[in-house]
Amino acid sequence: MNQQRRLNTGGRIDRTKPLEFTFNGKSYSGYQGDTLASALIANGVTEVGRSFKYFRRRGIVGAGVEEPNAIVQLDSNETSTPNLRATEIELVDGLSAKSATTTDRLGLRRLSSRLSSLMPVGFYYKTLIRPKIVWDLGEKLIRDTAGFGSVPNDRDPDIYDKYHHHCDVLIVGGGAAGLCAALAAAELGIRVMVADEQAEFGGWLLSSSTTIEDRASTEWVDRAVTALRAHPNVMLLPRTTIFGLYDHNLVMGCERLVHQQSSAPGFARECLHQIRAEQVVLATGALERPLTFANNDLPGIMLSSAVLTYLNRYAVTPGNDLVLATTNDLAYETAFAWHDVGKRVVAVCDTRADLAADLINGCEARNIPILREHVVTEAHGKKCLKRAVVALLSNDKRGLVGKSQTLNCDVLATSSGWNPVIHLNAHTRTMARWSEEDVSFLLDATSPSIATAGAINGVRRLATCMSEGVDSIRRLRSLSDDELVLPLPRVDEIPPSRADEVFKAPHWRVDSRAPKQFVDFQLDVTVSDIQLAAREGYRTIEHVKRYTALGFGTDQGKLGNVNGIAVLGDTLGLSMSEIGTTVFRPPYTPVTFGAIAGRSVGALFDPERHTPMHSWHVQHGAMWENVGQWKRPWYYPQSSESMHEAVNREVLAARNGVAVLDASTLGKIDVQGKDAAMFVDRIYSNGFAKLRVGRCRYGLMLRDTGMIFDDGVTARLGEDHFLIHTTTGNADAVLSWLELWHQTEWPDLDVRLTSVTDQWATAAVVGPKSRMVVAALCPDLDLSNARFPFMSVQSLEIGGIEARIFRVSFSGELSYEINVPAQFGLSLWEQIMAAGEPYGITPYGTETMHVLRAEKGFIIAGQDTDGSMTSADMNMNWCVRKSNDVDFVGRRSLALEDYQRPDRLQFVGLETTDPSQVLPEGGQLLKEPTKKTPAAMQGYVTSSYFSATLGRSIALAMVKGGHNRLGETLHCSLRGGGFSQARVVEPSFYDLNNEAQKVNVVDHDADQAIAPITGLQRSTGVTLKTEEVESQTAGVSLRQWRNFRLLTLVGSTGENRKQGNSPPLLETLPVEPCTWSSEDGVQVCWLGPNRWMSLELIDDERSESSEFFASQLGDISVIDTTGAYSVFSLTGPSVNELLLKSCTYDFHESVFRANSCVRTTFAKTQALVINQQNNRIDLVVRRSYSDYVYRWIADASREFGIRLVN
């Protein structure tokens, strides 16, 4: 197709690069450098969509972000994107777009177009009320017609990326003011970022005919951009819309990368830039306001600035005969340029009487008639603009006088002034004020770290915009004119004179009888709609907005809002400042969910934690339960087993034979220090001070409110050494809780807290035959009840590796929880399976664990409790000290009067009348099976299972006054409306005398020839799958450490260091925060006050033990945490970029120095990032997260390629 409206010369398009595209099924061509909108205009397409409510024909109005009509949907496959503005879409070859608003299924909108006079604002609210069915039907129809475009059905195959940046100054907007600010800032050598929503920098200079030093202004732009590119500290972000300015200068921008879609896979389609800017310059410019008059939505009526942009920047003319209707000087440029390309300017209608001589001369020189004090009052045309009706304004400009005249034209460019783009700063809750002089809403104030420059301040002169750009940097950096010198070029321009405050043309008829005068094009809000809203009592702009939908569209009223405010003010007799603006909220323009989600989709949606035995569970077909971020085996179905069958089998194996559970996820906190006993004693409700070394005790941890927070078994490993077990999901919260008490209430206590959850792999060997399995693993261990009693712990070696066995039970059975360092966990598990094979050892998952504990009535904090249960409520006062000698946390609260109420919810068991009926967890309990509401709630079910052991269902519940209601029958409401009868019983169903955990079964049938245990094998946190990611051109090389030792050192260096005779290792500990030091191949990193991590590579055979370190470090506690971490070394040219994608931390060399190491967030989890020599970065991550971290690194590195090094 020919581009009949394309000029032969000019514009910033490349005529040597033609591009083909389709719009609404028809093929067209354009050029490189076009937007979809300019290419459509070039091809003479005037109608780009239909209006939302009235189905009126609409054409392109603007040339940028303000466009309300040309909303299109790109593509039709799974990458289809709705709700894009044609004015912002860069044309690429093969682009396929369709209008988002041309469908009219059912012809409803065509109908509403005819009946528009019967459908005033609020029509739905007023009409579709009674009977109810009218709304039910009406809503369906309305919803069907609502919205723009359609959502693709398939999963989005595209990649979205996210970067975290830090800079000294971020400049938003790359127009004249922004570029000058950037040039000035670059002079200072500070870190500068410049973002602009367009593909090219230059802003208005790309559209304007103004010359700089007698040359086209774009030449100056090119020079400025080249200069900025040459600066190493300047980062330019074209195609990046800054859409939000949040607290502490967090600035969010979205970069469109569609233009490089054709390049290699792994590249993102959009990129979210999360920028932390010390200071921000807002040089966001201004958007032109249209004039409001009758039929002002006809295709062919455009913003004056848009007409000039299409003419100068894209070399297209939207028509032949132009009428310009304006209230200000700037629009004259459009008329002049139109004339200068050889097209006809029919007339310029200016609302003003006195015009600057330059304007008059300019028109006279071109023979353009000027109609002073004239305004366009109505437009005519069927499919597009044919005629404009103009008339003389009365003196107060609120009425018309004399006769109107009709001008034939096909383009009507209008301007009622400019709206500064103050949105971003308004996001920080700054108010806007109306400036009569500038006829604009301007910012009232900015924070000291934000400056504004250029048209955002109402400035209309180019020279002022440029000097304001430089001044903004001077102001932010507190520099005088002499301290920051930037020579600015001479600009040839006519200084604008005062503009008129006219937003809407008067009409001969009252507005409600006149043809529609549109204020908001996208949502079809008219002048009379706003007037009606005002008549109906809506007086604030916020209410009028919500009643009329003014500014509700995807353009958020960028075009129409100020005109709407003016109409409301006029109707109510209030000034612009009295009406004010609606609240500006981010985002400035729509942002895709893809960009916000970034890489955190699919398998990387949320960090996953894996136990050391994870790969075994995968191989053996485990079904998974998510517990916090942990993946835990739920149950292990064999062949075609259902969940119910599998769980029953696992339960019976634990009760009658032997079974094994991966309990590695259990939270573990190492407590050391001289006051460890006193600390644990104060934290738990039952006493721990007198616990003997080597023994364990179950403890309840209360909040100070007396409510149960957590529970678990704590072991005393030494006089000053405890190990606290927490529930899986609470591990982090408990550690923080302990730290809070230690650091704020009891800072004088010598206590060292270290999480060792990831350090220990735990296998719970459970069942009457468990002793035999453990005996096979530990032939030298005396497992008799006398020497290894219930609730005790043994430290020993298994297969040459240090291990701990806890004889505790969460099942009621004889049970041994075997712990080895995590790197040996998989090997231990395999040995257990081998040793247990003769006894039919059965792996079991969390569901069986729950059934077993529920049969015993053991609670799970967080399932049976919800933070509102006291120890008394749970009938667990047996583990609360009676004496007041120690003021443990929560003690005082237990005496609160309210806690003694007999009708509190109390913990009980339930037995259904029908033994096969498993009650729903959360099911509400009632006295009578009634559906009448309100019904008095008696309580609810907290846990419910089928017990294979008992051959019936069991449940645990909270029941009002339950402890005194044993034997009573309650009714549990079921999903679907039924009820199930259940009897209140004691919350314990099995082995009431606790005999099972003491049994001593000897299985003579089992094969006694068990192979002796071999040495445990080390395994790494991640099994690297080379073939999946390996790339020839590697931007990132990754090596996983295999043999290393990692110790956590906690304690005060104290006096030793001061005396100067301390051991060399102690001298090595770095004091400066976030730094490391090294000595003899041992690297020691600062983790916190009195806390370090030492890291060294070791040989395969075991070298010096951690005891050696302990002996060298005096009073400092040394905890072997080798198993708790995985270490990755990263090298290569793209490592820094990988870190930008993964961390919010600022890795600039000025902050992250040669000996820096920081613990910070990494891809939604955390890592210690160590800056090593030779451009190497080491990542120390918790072992359970290492698989997730590795997958993240592989995914984020795809675009530069990754190589795995052994």
Binding site: D247, D732, Q743, T744, L896, V1158, T1161
Partner: protein, 97 residues
């Protein structure tokens, strides 16, 4: 999202490294048994919730695991002061009781 200076790491980090624990300078009563239910309840549950300057405890959970005090304006989110546990807020930050 806030930027918070950690007085132990001596660097500014993003809010997602921290956890806000609640109002600062709430001393646990030395002798809880001397308090009646009402007084004990006030220690447990009642907080100032001011508009303007608020002293609160933050925990550098992802970093050094230390708790520290922050004086933050609840209206503008501006952080006025950061100081360690056991230290008193700078003089001008002391709130009118």
């Amino acid at each position: 999202m806030l930027r918070i200076y950690c007085p132990y790491c001596e660097s500014v980090r993003d809010e997602d490294e921290f956890h806000c624990v609640g109002e600062a300078h709430i001393k646990r009563p030395e002798r809880p048994d001397d308090l009646n239910d009402q007084e004990w309840g006030e220690y447990l549950h009642f907080r100032t919730n001011p508009r303007g300057e608020h002293r609160e405890i933050w925990h550098h959970a992802v970093g050094c695991r230390q708790h520290f005090n922050v004086v933050r304006d609840t209206e503008t989110y501006e952080i006025r002061h950061v100081y360690r546990i056991g230290e008193e807020p700078p003089h001008e930050a002391v709130l009118d009781e």
